[in-house]
């Protein structure tokens, strides 16, 4: 347990890794977590959280295991599909066990190691604890964590992975959660033409460059580069009174009503529909919303006058956003079901 208290200090994590880890094959390991050079420091995945190949493989098996739902109908991968950048299959809300509909649009699962908090309201403060919410939500997978542990341990096909990852054939809940976090942390999206542009100055055409310029002028205040989110909570004026309390549900602060975590716009062409409730089907609709956000007491100050965007501007912004689509993310066999 002591190790885990030092996770904020990656250097010391390395010291411990060197002294404790039986796995010395870090270099050239395809399951290693490799933060791209043009990204900031991650929150997760270094030091004692550094994924191991076996932890990743165990996490992948768990991620795609439909047994881990009360009626055996859904896995994590059901609503977080690789072809959609690990968002749902272009549905507003997601279907859990017995056809039950969830309450918010499923966010994509990539670059998770950079998120300081998770879900639209930021209620979950650590990547390892993210899976607990879908596993136990009655509208999603509808199990207790004890049931998840039991199902995994009853399935003999997990044993060798468990043994290799954690040196035990009987997994406990923290093993399961750490493996899933390792799997998720390795899913990095940094292979788009936009990334090529950031690294080399090449890769974007004229329209996309125009879009990037507009983006930097109007959008990157919240959708900060290079992750295209600053992970803050903001009210973007979708409604004069938000039905969904959003961040206020967590903070209990009325001024947070209708604030949601700023989503990354990477791969957004694949993850429609948009917003916490999936109300906009197209990028054009989502961007056009910012011309005249609803007046609401918690409206983000940067949006109080709306953003003046011509149809041509929107076309350029859409072209730029499409340049962030990462073909390697959706074709990489390491995280393919």
């Amino acid at each position: 347990m002591l190790i885990r208290m030092l996770r904020a200090l990656p250097i010391f994590g390395w010291v411990m890794l060197a002294s404790c880890s039986p796995d010395t094959e870090e270099l050239g390991n395809p399951y290693a977590f490799n933060p791209p050079e043009h990204f900031p420091s991650p929150v997760y995945g270094l030091g004692d959280q550094r994924p191991s190949p076996m932890g990743f493989k165990l996490g992948k098996k768990l991620f795609y295991d439909r047994q881990l739902s009360s009626d055996g109908s859904v896995s994590c991968g059901s609503c977080h599909a690789q072809v959609h950048a690990f968002a749902d299959h272009n549905t507003k809300l997601s279907m859990g066990v017995e056809g039950r509909l969830g309450i918010r649009n499923a966010p994509p699962v990539f670059n998770m190691a950079w998120h300081p908090a998770f879900m639209w309201d930021g209620g979950i403060n650590h990547l390892e604890l993210v899976p607990v919410a879908p596993f136990t939500h009655p509208l999603e997978m509808n199990l207790t964590m004890a049931q998840v542990v039991q199902k995994v341990n009853q399935d003999s096909s997990y044993r060798s992975l468990a043994q290799q990852a954690f040196g035990t054939s009987q997994l406990q809940d923290h093993h399961i959660l750490i493996s899933l976090a390792q799997f998720m942390s390795v899913i990095v999206s940094a292979g788009s033409r936009y990334d090529m542009h950031l690294s080399t100055g090449k890769g974007l055409n004229t329209l996309e460059m125009e879009g990037l310029s507009l983006f930097r002028q109007h959008c990157s205040h919240c959708h900060s580069e290079p992750l295209l989110s600053d992970f803050s909570y903001r009210n973007n004026g979708l409604d004069s009174l938000s039905e969904d309390e959003g961040r206020a549900l967590i903070s209990l602060n009325p001024s947070d009503r209708g604030r949601f975590k700023v989503p990354s716009l990477r791969n957004a062409a694949l993850t429609y529909p948009y917003m916490h409730d999936g109300r906009f089907m197209t990028l054009e609709q989502a961007i056009a919303h910012y011309r005249s956000p609803q007046a609401t007491p918690n409206l983000d100050p940067s949006l109080s006058a709306g953003i003046p965007l011509s149809d041509q501007d929107i076309e350029a912004l859409v072209a730029f956003i499409k340049s962030t689509t990462d073909e390697t993310l959706i074709s990489d066999t390491r995280w393919m079901e």
Partner: protein, 250 residues
């Protein structure tokens, strides 16, 4: 290199060493011992059990508990020299379903002690450090999945006066103004707790859950608390006031 950096690296190395060791630190080398924290559940001085019909002395509500669980952590003992000795990294989940609970606090340095203190709940560090194990495992169902944090006290049961016929208290909160993990400090009133190498002296505490409703709340006015906030804080403080020291056995 600054002194602070040197210290940090030195502690990192020390911790590395500690974390790699497979063996529990020895308890029987004469320098440390075990202390048993006995938790005796009482209702206004009388024996308390789950599923027992109870009447609250202040508000006269008729009640019965189906669940009473709570975390105790960060136990420390005050030596006769006035120093606090902390039993770090030990987390306990007490459960009234087990009747009298005996929490085994390990690695207490040998010596004479005059006071005890502990946290009712789980410190903020463990609430922000990802998946934990043992008493803190998520599968113990003392954890909020949607708003990360441990449920420090879970009290559930039936009530003759609440609209739903039930009360459900999931109390917790570890940050900022919603922090509801009070530290309880109890004097042994002049008695000493003697920790020696081989023995396991006992600190006998009384836990009276009727105190939940001694601070003004009733199950009729507050049938359900299931998130951090002012109500959770008030009920945690009330519950805390029901925990008292009774006696020690050396």
């Amino acid at each position: 290199m600054s002194t602070i950096s040197k210290l940090l690296i030195a502690s990192a190395v020390a911790l590395t060493f500690a974390s790699c060791s497979d063996d529990e630190p020895a308890n029987n080398d004469g320098t440390s011992g075990e202390v048993v924290l006995k938790l005796d559940h009482r209702w206004n001085g009388n024996p308390f059990a789950l599923n027992q019909s109870l009447t609250h002395t202040v508000n006269a509500e008729g009640l019965s508990f189906t669940t009473l669980k709570y975390y105790i952590s960060n136990v420390a003992l005050k030596s006769t020299e006035g120093d606090w000795h902390k039993a770090t990294d030990q987390y306990f989940l007490a459960d009234a379903a087990q009747g009298e609970n005996q929490l085994k606090v390990k690695n207490v340095p040998t010596g004479s002690y005059t006071d005890i203190r502990f946290m009712l709940g789980v410190d903020s560090l463990r609430n922000v450090s990802g998946a934990q194990e043992g008493a803190l495992a998520v599968s113990n169902n003392m954890f909020w999945s949607w708003n990360t944090g441990y449920i420090f006290v879970k009290a559930e049961g039936s009530s003759s006066t609440s609209n739903s016929g039930q009360f459900t208290y999931h109390l917790g909160g570890f940050s900022g103004p919603n922090a509801a993990n009070p530290v309880i400090e109890l004097s042994f009133n002049g008695a000493l707790l003697e920790v020696e190498g081989g023995s396991a002296p006992q600190v006998h505490l009384m836990v009276d859950p009727s105190h939940l409703w001694n601070g003004g709340e009733t199950t009729a006015s507050t049938p359900m608390v299931h998130m951090p906030g002012a109500k959770a804080k008030a009920l945690m403080t009330a519950f805390k006031n029901g925990i008292t020291w009774d006696h020690n056995h050396n």
